[in-house]
């Protein structure tokens, strides 16, 4: 193995219980050779920050289906920054096109919409991690 194995923390923030997508993404990333730490539903920012620290993770993936991405995703970015963790936050799920630019401006590394292929998902994570390096 020439490339180091990437470690990715996946989580669902807030109340949103739609976990079909994030579980599929977890398997896609695992199949792509990454180590996946899936925290589960109803995670707080602090839980995610702690997991990133303890697991020495390279990236955070959030899956959002309740139209609360504009509130929760930037707060996650801030919480990581406040803890001194420079890891990319990747958002997937139901995010309308017109929200993408604002999320990127607020520090989200990548937004993956419906229809992103497995290859795109894995490549986006690798690229986002590489861009931070």
């Amino acid at each position: 193995m020439s490339e180091p194995q990437l470690r990715v923390v996946l989580a669902k923030l807030g109340f949103d219980g739609h976990d079909r997508g994030i579980k599929i993404v977890a398997r896609i990333l695992r199949d792509a050779g990454m180590e996946v730490i899936y925290l589960g539903l109803r995670q707080s920012y602090l839980n995610v920050v702690n997991a990133v620290e303890q697991e020495d993770a390279d990236a955070v993936g959030l899956s959002m289906h309740n139209a609360s991405h504009m509130t929760l995703a930037p707060k996650m970015v801030e919480a990581l920054a406040a803890a001194g963790l420079d890891v990319p936050v990747i958002v997937g799920g139901i995010v309308p096109d017109e929200d993408v630019t604002e999320l990127l401006e607020k520090g989200v590394a990548v937004v993956l919409g419906p229809g992103a292929s497995a290859e795109q998902v894995a490549i986006s994570v690798r690229d986002a991690v590489a861009a931070k390096a």
Binding site: G14, R20, R27, A67, S68, M70, T71, L72, A118
Partner: protein, 541 residues
């Protein structure tokens, strides 16, 4: 008289039919039924619950709605009633579904987004303002905190002069599928089941027109299950509620007629039709043979159908209208009692008004233009359809056998065990992943997604919920808290806590008292969590 055809004819002749003519577009008269016994209305009801099917009455066109404030949704309700919808169906926002108030820290950004926000009885009063609860039937899609919302609905009825015995409708209240698929649980499974048996007992005694549980496969399917898993998990959850009610001392023929079901209608046309037909047959057989029902009403599985939200594509959203039409037709050919058709723009957001109207019109086309309503179970006897029906039943029976195995011959205990050991979640996740791999590899074509992709102009006109909804709701909640009698609230919550600790007490009466004092949903949930605990799921991929 033992000739099934004659029996069917007598039942048909005794039915009041809606206005015909029951002929084709070209004027060819058609019979009400073709093919062989058992006929529609005859056990095990594979061919339909009643002899005359849609010749007697069409399905109820029940469109799910809810967004923003209670007043916003109230306006949408009135609009749907004017447009010819036959019943109300309520979507609640995430904080409400999770039993938390709009001022909970996680509620930020969620208030009024996926449905209407209800914190107290005051919101419920706004939601149904100027609608006579005695003359509509209302479906409320809520599970974890269902007992509170039900108490509020009863209280609104009381305050507007409608006795609880006149209230008609359904509350979803299907907690088992929350642990299995939808994930909107609050308390652990066993105390949650106690709340449900309390509600079944209460409605059996006092609310003859109310369905206290709508056993739902819809969310199991949306989470990624196969059609047969949806069928089997849903019906076995139904058996679990039956076993819980029997254990609580209810008589099967008292409560079983009030159970209703809710299925998904996906795009594989014949698989869906086979699933619906198998559902009726399995339920009838199990109720009669395993649970000893003697009333035909207990054996008749009634169901609502919604087209598959998960099948809607963000790409070329307008083509979803075609998907919805096909799925709606499958529901009709499967004999559904009511139907929600999804709006084409729902992949990305709640439906716009125009899109919701097109969705309602789509099912009206199926009902009034296609002629499929002239003949009961028009596909009955077709070799492929009968094979598919048998195959769905066969796969479901395998799953029932597994649940009985892990539950020591109890489906209820099997359900608890399957939730605990990750059986349902694992099966659903495997099926979802398999489907995703097939789409990703191009083996399975999804039009507009992995083939036929030209023509997406990227233009989307989405319904947006403004931040003002949240501001309004927070102010409303603060106002209500200010105006209520806080001593009375505390007293009712204290009583609720002590009754919750005693499984012999039915919590419903005190729940009604508490909501009438304007105790908030979040306060009631916190009170019950103090006794029941909070459920936390093990995260498995």
């Amino acid at each position: 008289m033992s000739d099934p055809r004659e029996e069917w004819q007598q039942a048909y002749d005794a039915t009041t039919l809606r206005e015909g003519p029951f002929d084709t577009m070209s004027g060819v008269p058609v019979d009400a039924v073709y093919g062989n016994a058992p006929y529609p209305g005859q056990y095990p009801y594979t061919r339909g619950l009643f002899a005359a099917g849609y010749r007697s009455r069409l399905w109820t066109m029940r469109m799910f709605a809810g967004f923003g404030t209670a007043e916003d949704t109230n306006a949408r309700f009135k609009e749907l009633l004017r447009a010819g919808g036959g019943g109300l169906s309520t979507a609640f926002d995430m904080p409400t579904l999770m039993g938390r108030d709009s001022d909970h820290e996680w509620a930020l950004g969620e208030v009024g987004h996926c449905g209407v926000a209800v914190d107290t009885l005051a919101d419920m009063e706004d939601l149904f303002a100027d609608i006579n609860l005695g003359s509509v039937s209302t479906s409320m899609t809520i599970n974890g905190p269902a007992i509170m919302i039900m108490a509020m609905y009863i209280a609104v009825g009381e305050k507007t002069g409608v006795d609880r015995s006149a209230l008609a409708g359904t509350i979803q209240n299907d907690i088992l599928k929350e642990y299995q698929a939808q994930k909107e649980y609050i308390f652990p499974p066993r105390p949650s089941m106690r709340l449900i048996t309390d509600m079944m007992k209460f409605t059996s005694a006092e609310m003859p027109k109310w369905h206290p549980v709508s056993i739902s496969g819809y969310h199991i399917r949306e989470a990624g299950s196969t059609a047969a898993q949806e069928l089997a998990f849903t019906l076995s959850n139904g058996f679990a509620y039956v076993e819980a009610a029997l254990a609580a001392g209810l008589d099967i023929d008292d409560f079983a007629p009030r159970l209703s079901f809710f299925f998904n209608s996906h795009s594989d046309f014949f698989e869906e039709i086979g699933k619906f037909r198998a559902a009726r047959r399995i339920w009838a057989r199990w109720m009669k043979e395993r649970y000893g029902a003697t009333s035909e009403r207990s054996m008749r599985l009634k169901f609502h159908t919604q087209t598959a939200g998960v099948s809607l594509t963000a790409q070329q959203a307008e083509i979803n209208i075609g998907r919805v039409a096909i799925q709606a037709l499958a529901g009709a050919l499967g004999g559904t009692q009511s139907l929600h058709t999804d709006a084409y723009d729902e992949a990305m957001a709640l439906p716009t008004e125009d899109a919701a109207r097109i969705a309602l019109r789509t099912q009206q086309i199926v009902a009034h233009e296609t002629g499929v309503t002239n003949v009961v179970d028009p596909l009955g006897g077709a070799p492929y359809v009968e094979w598919m029906t048998d195959e769905m039943e066969r796969q479901a029976e395998e799953i029932f056998a597994h649940l009985l195995d892990i539950g020591n011959d109890s489906i209820l205990e099997g359900a608890y065990a399957g939730i605990d050991n990750g059986y349902y979640m694992g099966e659903i996740a495997d099926a979802a992943y398999r489907f995703e791999r097939e789409v990703n590899s191009g083996q399975r074509i999804i039009v507009g997604v992995n083939d036929f992709t030209e023509g997406d102009d990227g233009q989307r006109n989405l319904l947006r919920i403004g931040a003002e909804v949240e501001e309004y709701q927070l102010k409303r909640l603060a106002d209500v808290k200010q105006r209520r009698n806080s001593d009375a609230v505390t007293a009712s919550l204290t009583r609720l806590a002590s009754e919750a600790a005693d499984p012999e007490v039915n919590l419903m009466p005190t729940m009604i008292e508490a909501v009438k004092e304007f105790a908030t949903e979040g306060e009631i949930v916190a009170t019950l969590e103090g006794v029941f605990g909070t459920y936390v799921e093990k995260a498995v991929i």
